[in-house]
Each structure stands twice: as C-alpha cells, then as structure tokens.
Symmetry: C2
Subunit: 397 residues, 2 copies
C-alpha cells in the first residue's frame, strides 16, 4: 500500500468527517462540499475504502444512468469505548465509528478508591461489553473517559481534583497503553455532558450545561467547540461567590461559594439542621417529591442562588441555551422556576432575549454521549486519522 503523505491527512479527514456526519454520501457530493476535484475526491475515497474505514454502500437514487454508490463508515472498522465516571458510578457505552451504540452498561465504583482500582473496574467492564458484542480488544479504536474533576486535557491527567483522592497528576492514558492500541482521551465529566447535550440541540450555538448534584459544575460549548480554558478549569462555578451569602463557609476554605449554599450537599446539611432525615441528594429529591414544605423551600432558595450566579454567566458569556442536569435537575418544577426568575430579572435584556433555560434531554446519559462524540471527532480528525489508518483492516489479524 502506498504511504499516505502526512499532508494528505487533512483532506482525508475532511472527506471522512463529511461522510460520518451524513453531509455527503457520494463522490460528487464530496466534490461539491470540499471544493476538491472529482479525481482528488476519488483518490481520497479509495484510500479510505482501502484502509477499511469507508464502504461503498447501497446505490443512491439517481435520475438516470448508473446510480452513484452511497458512502458510509464501515461498521466493522472498530469499536469506540465511551466512559462516564462519577463519584460512585461508571457508565460505559460501546459504539461503532459512526456513533451507533453497540452496548451499554453501568456499574458502581468509588472514585475515592484511587485510579488503579477504578480503572481496573473500567477495564473489566470493557472486557465484558466486548465479549457481549463479540468484538476483540484489538478492535478498540479509542477510549474516552469523563472524570469528576479538572483535567489537563492534553495529557489526560487530573489536576488537583477535590473529590478524587489519589488521582492528582495520575496519567490515565498510561493505564490503558499495554491493554489497547488506541488513543485515550480524558476530560472533565461536565465538559463531556455539555458536548453530549449540544449534539442533541441543533438550534443552539452557545450552550452552558450546569450540573447540580452533590457538587456544582458547568460545561461550556462555544460555536460547537468545548471551551476548556487555559488550564482546563473553565466552567468551575461551584466556588463563585454568591451575593448576600458572603459569610457561609465552604469546604474549599473560602466563604460564600455557590456550592456552600446551593449544592445537594448544602441542601442535605440545611435540611438535617431542621431535623429532616436526609443523607444524600436523592433523599432531598424524594422529600420534595413527597411535598415536604421545608425541602421545597430549601430547593427554591438554592434555585435563587444558582440563578444569581447564572445571571452573571449569562451577562458574561451570552449563551442561547442553558441546560440543567445532575440529580437535582429532577426537581425542575421548583428549581428551574427560581433559576429562570432570577436570570431573566438580573441579566441584561439583550443577553436573555433568545435564551432558553431547560432541563437535560439526556439526563444520566449526557456524559457517555459526550465521551462518544469526543472520541469520534478525534478519530476522524487530521490528528487522529493517521493512527486509525495504520491499524489492521477489518478481517485482518
């Protein structure tokens, strides 16, 4: 096989991504979409077919003459493993390179046990799912993981994650290097939730995904791209100061943080101090569901405080969509009403003119959805494609 010149990968990537996105299914559609000549497109397509990445599929309807063949990703080319790690859960989804789900499963973990035990659980679950769908470990083309803390995305290393003891500076990709010949991408879980939700919101360009659970975090998508910031810390709104609550101490050592007054943990503490029998965020959700007045009152107060901080985020970032996720988002009748009230009253009219504030469509699956999107984007990118095309074709050893 001819060696692919490095400089051709950008063009190959463009072709592969257009086919994967369903935006161009024939050679002539690719020529129109890319501005490449028919001959160049055919060369690129042949390279991708030769490498086993694309297939000439069913003939497309054509007006006359020989019908053009529709191109599609070869579902046998490989498997992508998307993982969402929370404080206590691991959800995993296997997809093909087109993003179609092959299998999904979840298991309990304790993130505080540290990287080796947790990643060993991930590896075991991956082995089980591969067996279940009858694919080999050598067919895994990418692994992407969301973790509940800040991550240096370039190296896949958690950085001072508050609820992940033992993970600070641990290079997650290294754990998998002997097990799978695949790139390993690691990102903050809420970033991936934002990416997953964005993929299902065709009208939105600038999206904030706000996760309200035991803690509070935010993922930012701008013009379709994750905004991670200079150190991967963007969206960390849990320790922003909330007006009128400057004296409440927070576990971070500061006072008046949003997490100290509006998180699930804060709600649990507030309700316990009033004699309610609650220990987890789920208990709070249950109490509200039962119509407990104290619980509803506390949730509405939390909504106001979230609204104050989100109003600032709206004035600053001017999103067109805020998506509320996390376990407290189930309380949308109370929580969402308060958030909307404060944001629409406090943020500038121009910034809220076309703003929608809604609950997540994907709920607990936003994380794996985003992880899967991230991996697929990477694989078909100019940076990811060379490795993908060097790997054995389907059917080869």
């Amino acid at each position: 096989m001819r060696t692919i010149d490095e400089r051709q990968y950008a063009a190959l990537s463009e072709v592969a991504r257009l086919v994967a996105a369903g935006r161009a299914g024939t050679r002539s559609a690719l020529a129109s979409a890319t501005g490449m000549s028919r001959a160049t497109v055919s060369q690129r397509v042949d390279t991708l077919i030769g490498a086993g990445l694309l297939l000439d599929g069913e003939p497309a309807a054509a007006v006359r003459g020989r019908p053009p063949l529709t191109l599609r990703l070869n579902p046998l080319t490989g498997v992508v493993c998307a993982v969402d790690l929370g404080a206590t859960h691991c959800r995993m989804r296997l997809t093909d390179l087109g993003g179609a789900p092959l299998a999904e499963s979840a298991t309990s973990i304790d993130i505080a046990h540290g990287p080796v035990p947790v990643l060993t659980s991930v590896d075991t679950l991956l082995g089980e799912l591969l067996l279940q769908v009858g694919r080999r470990p050598s067919e895994v083309r990418a692994i992407s993981l969301g973790v509940p803390g800040p991550v240096d995305f370039a190296t896949g290393t958690p950085v001072r994650p508050p609820i992940m003891p033992g993970w600070d500076g641990y290079p997650v990709p290294a754990f998998f290097v002997d097990r799978y010949d695949a790139p390993v991408l690691v990102d903050n879980d809420v970033n991936l939730m934002a990416l997953g939700e964005y993929a299902h919101r065709s009208g939105a360009h600038h999206l904030l995904y706000v996760k309200v659970g035991t803690g509070i975090g935010c993922g930012i998508v701008s013009d379709g791209e994750l905004h991670r910031g200079a150190a991967g810390a963007a969206g960390d709104i849990g320790h922003v100061r909330v007006p009128s609550h400057e004296d409440v101490p927070c576990h971070c050592g500061n006072t008046g943080c949003l997490e100290a007054v509006a998180s699930g943990a804060a709600l649990v503490a507030a309700l316990r101090s009033k004699g309610c029998d609650v220990r987890t965020t789920h208990d709070v959700v249950r109490l509200v569901g039962e119509g407990n007045p104290s619980a509803r009152r506390q949730v509405r107060l939390a909504g106001q405080r979230l609204g104050e901080v989100l109003a600032t985020a709206v004035s600053f970032h001017n999103p067109d969509l805020i998506v509320l996720g996390g376990s407290l988002a189930e309380l949308h009748e109370d929580l969402l009403a308060e958030i909307r009230g404060v944001v629409y009253r406090r943020a500038l009219p121009l910034a809220t003119r076309s703003l929608a504030i809604e609950t997540s469509l994907l709920a607990g699956r936003a994380g794996v959805e985003g992880a899967s999107r991230l991996a697929l984007r990477h694989l078909l990118s100019p940076a990811g494609l060379p490795r993908l095309l060097r790997q054995p074709k389907p059917g080869e050893k």
Copy 2:
C-alpha cells in the same frame, strides 16, 4: 481573465493569509504549509498576482541555483480604514492590506448626536486622511468601526446601546454604501480592543480585555477568536451584581451592578459626595495623581469590586491573561493591586495558576488596532476575498 470558481476561494484565502502573516514567503513554503501540490500553489499564487493582491518581491536567500522570489502583499492594492468610536472621540487609522499604518488621526465627536452627524464626521475624517496619503476613495477596500455599545455583528447594527441615543437598529454599513465600494464591519468597541491587544500578546490564548472608564465592559478572545455570544452581548459585565453591594441603585434599573459601584461615573459620584471637585473620570485620575487620600481610597475600593466580578469571570472562563484598559487603567498602582489581590484570593488556584493581570500595551490605540485586524482578517477570508479580487487592479481606473 478566467473566472475564479467559487470553490477555489478557500484555497486562495489560505495562500493569501499565509503570505500576509509572514508565515510562508515562497511557493515551496506555501506548498509545505498548505499540503497543496507545487503546481496548485503556483496557480493560486498566479491568480493572486494577476488580481494585483500579491507581488513577487525581493529574491529570498537561497542555498544555490536561482533564488526563489519572496511573495508579499501588494501595498498598492488598497487601503483599509479602521475606526474607534467612543462616547466623545473618533480615532481613525488607514493601513495597507498588510496592516502597515499609512496615517492616523483623531477628532472629537459626541456619539449622542446620533448616527448621521457622527458618521458624517467619520466620512470627513476619512476623506482628509485619504488626501493626506494620496489615495482615492475607490481604493478603500474595507471599513471597520468599533462603537461603544452592543452590536449585531452580522448586520452591523447597534442593538439597544445605552449611551448611543438614535443608534438602536441603525444599519451603519448602509451609510457608507454609496460612498465606498467596500465591506463595512461594525463591532462593539471593547471587542475590538480585545482583538487588538490579543494581536500583541503572543503567549496568550484566552484573553479578557476589561475596559474601565466612565462605564465598564469586557471583550473576550478564546483561542484567538472573538467570543461575541448569541446576541453580541458577551462580556457585558457592567451590570453583573457585586457581592456586598446589593442595595446600590444603578442607572439600568437594577441594584448592585458593577458599574454602579466601580466605574468612573461611580467614582465621580462618590468623590463629589465627599466634597471633592471632580466631574469626569480624568478628574479622578488627576486627583489620585496628586495623592488625594479620598480618591485613592475610592479607587482601591473600586478595584476590590472589580476583583470580585473578575474572580467569577476567571473561575468561569479560565483565561491566561486579563488586560486592564480604559481611562482608569492609568491608575494601575492602586487599581491593579486590588484587582490582583481579590482575584488571586477568590478564584480557584487551578484557574489562576497561569493567569497574568496586566495593563494594556496599546492604551488608547487598542481599538483601532483591533478594528484594523478585524478588517484584514475579513478581506483575506474566503468570504471577503471574492469582492477584493473583483475590484480594479492597482493602476487601473
């Protein structure tokens, strides 16, 4: 002349931008940088030379054989007009298509007189500058203007600008359409200041430009691109609520806004209430320069309030550089010290680890610098190039 196929503009744009940025000065460097074949590069370069946009310049040093010619933008191809409109000033710079300044001037205006009188002043100043450099109005290839209010960038229309009576919904480009055969780009002034400052800060990827003058605004650059948000309102931090000052009324109708407690106007009001003889932000700057203790105290308080809001912006956006501009930025000894103190104490350690907070390098010229960059980017973009290449070549009528 052969018609240029629409689909070739992307490639022409890539070549023109590489030459303009000084990143590729020869055909072979362009071939390496773009991945195009030598033949394709030569075609593209010949098209751009034929259209008068590029010149084969001085021979570059070469190891042996015929020295390759270095390509450069043709300085005679046209003139770009960059304008920075403030509440009371109009600064204008003419550059060639490479961004080299040809002339610069400033005049006083009153933005509140409305669009027609103000834009007539702009037009008069442009005529004078063109005469001064001996170029014709037909040589103007782009006009870009920053205005002190929110703008719908796609249409060049101010949207509910608080200090620009008469400008709401006025289509600024239409004013120039009969006078110049050139695209007219309109953006918020602080956005352009952010872009101008970014161009002079090679190490920064995520920059916030915070203008503190009579009002307070912020321009956001993410990975080199302006973040304007869904409605062009991004960065509007003047009406964000400041902790501990919830009861101070603001001219916007809300209370506790940053502008109500930390702007030049707020400082003037606070000092007047203490019997100081101040009427403008410049008077405040003067008083502080004279060592007036009340004035220094008020400026330090303003710095703390700015710091509170910027700490939130840092936690949310995670920039690597905050640039302080505007007339109060001259008071950097007092103001900057307080801002830094609050931001480094309040924002998360990860978000401030590589954060610098500095004063503007460009001061009053950040706006025209950004306007000029915006126009040049547009002209050489796939969207801007077709119009540029349809225009008469240098020397033609």
